[in-house]
């Protein structure tokens, strides 16, 4: 045996041992017996799906540079292992939840170690937002019998102030000459918020620099359970449709520990200045940390249709979501893949999204009035519409690999319920509208 064959043989043995070990692990999880060893029928293959993304919001808000690799290793008998790695580098500023004022405002930074000032009439943004996120997933998939397959996986991600760990499993079975597929999936996760400077007690005031007396705990957890039931149906040679029902339940710490609300005068709507600021650096006005319920249940229905129209492909999906925070949303997504030659295509994309506000969404809280049970001014819990418009160019390289680049614009425009606007607030631009640019370059190759 020459050196090269030895390396190949070792690699093949290693592959088989990895494959066998994973199969054993999967079967152990499923309570099945271990299948007999299967000799290699064909060369194993690798599929690399890589991308580089730039996501940038205007007005120096969030900027993200993200690198992603989804690597799939195919084994004999349609078994495969998929591993994905994502690296995000985030910088920029994000709305703190406080409202604009006709005077400058000072805020204590989330760390509690310093303060920052927001000029007259400017939307308060917390500009200390800087994070690196690493996310890893691993999934093993294999057929079960002739018409079913099972997929089990693990996911984990880490940011400076956040840790996520999850397990997931999915079972799919084909019926009716493989024209109908029923699938059921479940995912459980536990996430931990290690908030910078400690987790603030909801509805307590933003305190002076160095005062952490309202942050007794360093971290808080939440548990997430997701269940997805899906039906895929081939209608004709050129039409396939899918419908999914999803149930999602979150419980535990669901606040954002950095978001605050302004405490305002019930007549003027202006934020109350602190009467006794004290000798230390600290907030100029009264702000309190938000308070959300400690559970949330979401239901959503997703439908998708994909139709082949003489070489072009129209991909349309619609999602309806409702939850017990009284948020309802509609999402319509349309893509049209248009081949320009055998190797080149262009794909316009339009997405329309609309949501109602959570029942505890408040622009501000009135000084002296009884506190509601919950309140948050996080713009993502407010009522808004969003549009994404994009264009993607894709091409096959000479060695049959896929490359694509897409450019998209994402725009959010929100509105505050009229009855929440008090005094001077009515003449201010209160909703932090968002404009973002998305550029993604993808390269997919197989070995």
């Amino acid at each position: 045996m020459d050196g090269h064959s030895a390396v190949v043989a070792v690699a093949a043995t290693k592959d088989r041992s990895i494959s066998a070990a994973l199969a054993t692990a999967t079967c152990a999880l499923l309570g099945n017996s271990i299948p007999a060893a299967v000799e290699a029928q064909e060369e194993p293959k690798w599929d690399f799906n890589t991308s580089l993304l730039y996501y940038g919001e205007d007005e120096n808000r969030v900027q993200d540079l993200s690198l992603k690799a989804i690597i799939r290793r195919m084994f004999v008998d349609d078994r495969s292992l998929t591993v994905s790695l994502t690296l995000d580098s985030l910088t920029g500023a994000t709305p703190s939840g406080a409202i604009r004022q006709d005077v400058p405002q000072t805020f204590t930074r989330p760390s509690g170690n310093a303060a920052y000032e927001v000029p007259v009439g400017v939307l308060p943004l917390d500009d200390t937002f800087k994070d690196t996120r690493v996310a890893l997933t691993g999934n093993w998939q294999q057929p079960v019998g002739d018409t079913s397959l099972i997929n089990v996986g693990i996911s984990a991600s880490k940011e400076y102030d956040y840790f996520h760990l999850g397990l997931n499993g999915r079972f799919a079975k084909d019926f009716n000459k493989r024209n109908t597929t029923f699938s059921a999936g479940i995912s459980i996760a536990q996430d931990e918020f290690d908030s910078v400077g400690g987790v603030p007690i909801p509805f307590t005031s933003m305190l002076d620099v160095g005062d952490t007396s309202n942050r007794p705990e360093a971290s808080r957890d939440k548990d997430v359970l997701d269940v997805v039931l899906g039906l895929t149906q081939v209608i004709s040679r050129s039409l396939v449709v899918q419908a999914n029902y999803s149930y999602s339940s979150e419980s535990g710490y669901l606040n954002n520990p950095y978001k605050v609300l302004s405490i305002v005068d019930g007549t003027t709507g202006d934020t109350i200045a602190r009467t006794n600021p004290g000798p230390l650096l600290g907030p100029s006005h009264e702000f309190v940390f938000e308070s959300r319920p400690d559970d949330r249940v979401k239901h959503s229905l997703y439908t998708q249709a994909k139709v082949f129209l003489g070489g072009k492909v129209l991909d349309t999906s619609y999602r309806y979501m409702t939850d017990d925070w009284d948020i309802e949303s509609h999402t319509l997504d349309v893509r049209y893949r248009w081949p320009l030659s055998d190797r080149l295509y262009v794909e316009p994309h339009l997405r329309w999204y609309s949501q109602t506000e959570a029942d505890f969404y408040r622009l501000s809280l009135v000084d002296g009035a009884p506190l509601p049970a919950f309140a948050s001014s996080d713009y993502r819990l407010g009522a808004f519409d969003a549009i994404t418009a994009g264009l993607k160019f894709g091409w096959k390289t000479a060695n049959q690999n896929d490359m694509s680049i897409r450019l998209e614009w994402y725009q959010q425009a929100g509105s505050i319920p009229g009855e929440q606007l008090i005094g001077n607030q009515a003449s201010r631009d209160n909703y932090p509208d968002l404009n973002a640019l998305i550029v993604q370059f993808s390269y997919r190759f197989k070995l």
Binding site: N176, S236, V240, Q304, K306, A358, S442
Partner: protein, 69 residues
């Protein structure tokens, strides 16, 4: 519950008369006709919209795993 079961049976029953024969799958087998054509793009979009909107998931699991300020 009874109504839901009947609806599901009708749906599955209705589905059994639809579809194609195995030799008619030339178009459905094309890469661009798969329900998910670009996994990296799909995962990226799910993460962006999870971070910026109150809804998530639908196509797959709800996603998450970020503090997402």
């Amino acid at each position: 519950m009874k109504t839901a079961t009947v609806a599901l049976l009708l749906l599955v029953g209705g589905c059994s008369s639809m579809g194609v024969e195995p030799w008619e799958r030339d178009i459905l087998a094309k890469e661009e006709m798969q329900l998910t054509t670009d996994a990296a793009e799909g995962a990226t979009d799910d993460h962006i919209y999870f971070s910026k909107e109150a809804s998530s998931g639908g196509r797959a699991f709800g996603g998450g795993g970020c503090g997402c300020n």
